[in-house]
Amino acid sequence: MNSNWSLWRGQVLAILRLEIKKNFLAKRGLWIYLLAAAPAVLMWTHALMNLRDHRVCDLGHDNLIFATIFQFFYLRLAVFFGCVGVFLNLFRGEMLEKSLHYYLLTPVRRVVLLVGKYLAGVITTSIIFCTGTALTLAAILVHVPRNAAEQYLFAGGGLGHVLTYIATAALACIGYGGVFLVMGFLFRNPVVPVVLVLLWEAANPFLPTLLKRLSVIFYLHSLIPISVPAQGDFAFLAILGTPTPAYLAVLSLLLIALAGLWLGARQVRKLEINYGTE
């Protein structure tokens, strides 16, 4: 059994080497970098302009702006679509490129292949979106006085906030990764299901408490340090629920990912190479 684990570990590492390189260097994935970098570019532009004009920044205000961007753009759109781009293509993309048989002709269990590819997707998206989060937060801190930044980071709980935002971005990749991994197997044309998931996630604030829990964004919201309430004409429709404790939210996101892997494992075992029908 030990030798089996050692073999599977070696095979997963070999898959990671191939997949991570492929995911990072894919030209078709350029838009994912743009999505991830958009808030950082915005905040750095703002920071550099403030530095140039010697304007003093309000850390609390910038933190709120970041929280809004993170909650309404980064998690709901950037990470969501980034995961769509990476995880939907883990198998489907190679099917379309007619290169999936390369893996299926190796002495690698289909489930090991699934785990390897999923982990490669999680690592890729986490690196991209956690870096994006960190760079955006760095932009906020770079244009406040140094002692204010240090005070915020080390005495005001700021460091905890920074780490929580980064961890939340990674958990978003893990959760959405599980969802889109399965969708890549189940749907030949996943556009409509992706739009439905997007709408479901967007409607989360307005759903009854029980239904709220059937989403990824609900658990992510429970983790973020500064929660921005729903705004706009329909904000009064929002149903306020008690946030889930952090440990339960993390556990739930991991369970969503595990459920995705379990369903994916059922599909990958049945997978056939029939490029003509793709």
């Binding site: 898959i15 191939l18 490129e97 290169s99 002495p107």
Partner: protein, 313 residues
């Protein structure tokens, strides 16, 4: 069923309503076995079933005692050179083979050594560091072959492996297949190039419209084609004189002087008996140069069973 053969037991595969292969029963021994048939006859389907890329709709396949849906065991001793001409993005020839061996669980040094051995065997060392995307058709074919043989498989499945190879490489590749078969391996080849199949195969499997129409050694298959008596070409002087004697035999269906006037084309239902009696028939003044079957080859068998246009029988 045993652990030395590749067996198909009543295997069928349908793509929806479309037939891939139907009720295939085969036992493939070691040596070079060629799958011959027109496009759409089921050659690739049979190979994909053998390697688990497809699953049979019904029936059972056994590859030296292992089921094709157990890749972890199967690909330890099976190598498959597919007809798919697409590769993982951005890979060099070296990486293509090396990564495959790493997926086998080989450590770096061993994978590196095995990679170079396979690449040298297909004579692609000079291009190994180049991206496959820049390879010619023949080079892509060779790197696929290197990948298929790099782990020294016992069963080698090759889908149209000679496609795109120039004559020299083609000859070298055929020699490679022969050397592998001589070591007791199963080498299963699909090909449209019939004269090459004829030259290299120990046995053939003829497919048409998803059915196996004949299998076995070429001579045996040819003998079973009763609708077409065997043709024998006798090179000799005075073919006319020989023809008049040959007509005395009841086994001879037809005898006619060859178009070039330097031989006789005989059609007989009992070639073995005809060979025995031929010496008695040779008349004085007729010099016999050679006696050889004229249609005891895959080409003829293919034409008789499947039709000259590659249609169904």
């Amino acid at each position: 069923m045993n652990g030395h053969e590749i067996t198909f037991e009543n295997v069928s595969r349908f793509y929806g309503d479309v037939l891939g292969v139907n009720r295939v029963n085969l036992a493939i021994p070691p040596g070079i076995t060629s799958l011959v048939g027109p496009n759409g006859s089921g050659k690739t389907t049979l190979m994909n079933l053998m390697t688990g890329l497809l699953r049979p709709t019904q029936g059972r396949i056994d590859i030296l005692g292992v089921q094709p849906h157990d890749p972890e065991r199967l690909f330890r001793f099976v190598g498959y050179c597919t007809q798919y001409d697409s590769f993982p993005r951005g890979m060099t020839g070296y990486q293509f083979v090396y990564s495959y061996l790493r997926l086998h669980g080989k450590p770096h040094a061993e994978a590196d050594e095995m990679t170079w051995r396979a690449i040298n065997r297909v004579k692609l060392a000079d291009a190994a560091a180049r991206k496959i995307a820049g390879y010619s058709k023949g080079m892509r074919q060779r790197i696929k072959l290197a990948q298929a043989i790099c782990h020294d498989p016992t069963v080698l499945v090759l889908d149209e492996p000679l496609n795109g190879l120039d004559p020299l490489v083609r000859a070298e590749t055929i020699a490679l297949f022969r050397s592998l078969a001589e070591t007791g391996k199963h080498v299963i080849i699909s090909s449209h190039i019939l004269h090459e199949v004829d030259a290299i195969s120990d046995q053939v499997i003829l497919l048409s419209s998803g059915y196996v129409v004949a299998e076995g050694q070429i001579h045996g298959v040819r003998t079973e084609v009763e609708d077409h008596p065997m043709q024998i070409l006798i090179r000799c002087s005075r073919p006319g004189a020989l023809a008049s004697r040959i007509f005395e035999l009841d086994t001879v269906v037809e005898a006619r002087v060859h178009n070039d006037g330097k031989g006789l084309l005989v059609r007989t239902r009992e070639p073995d008996r005809f060979y025995l009696m031929l010496n008695r028939l040779v008349v004085d003044g007729v010099d016999l140069e050679s006696v050889a079957p004229a249609d005891d080859d895959v080409n003829s068998v293919y034409e008789y069973l499947i039709g000259p246009d590659g249609g169904s029988i």
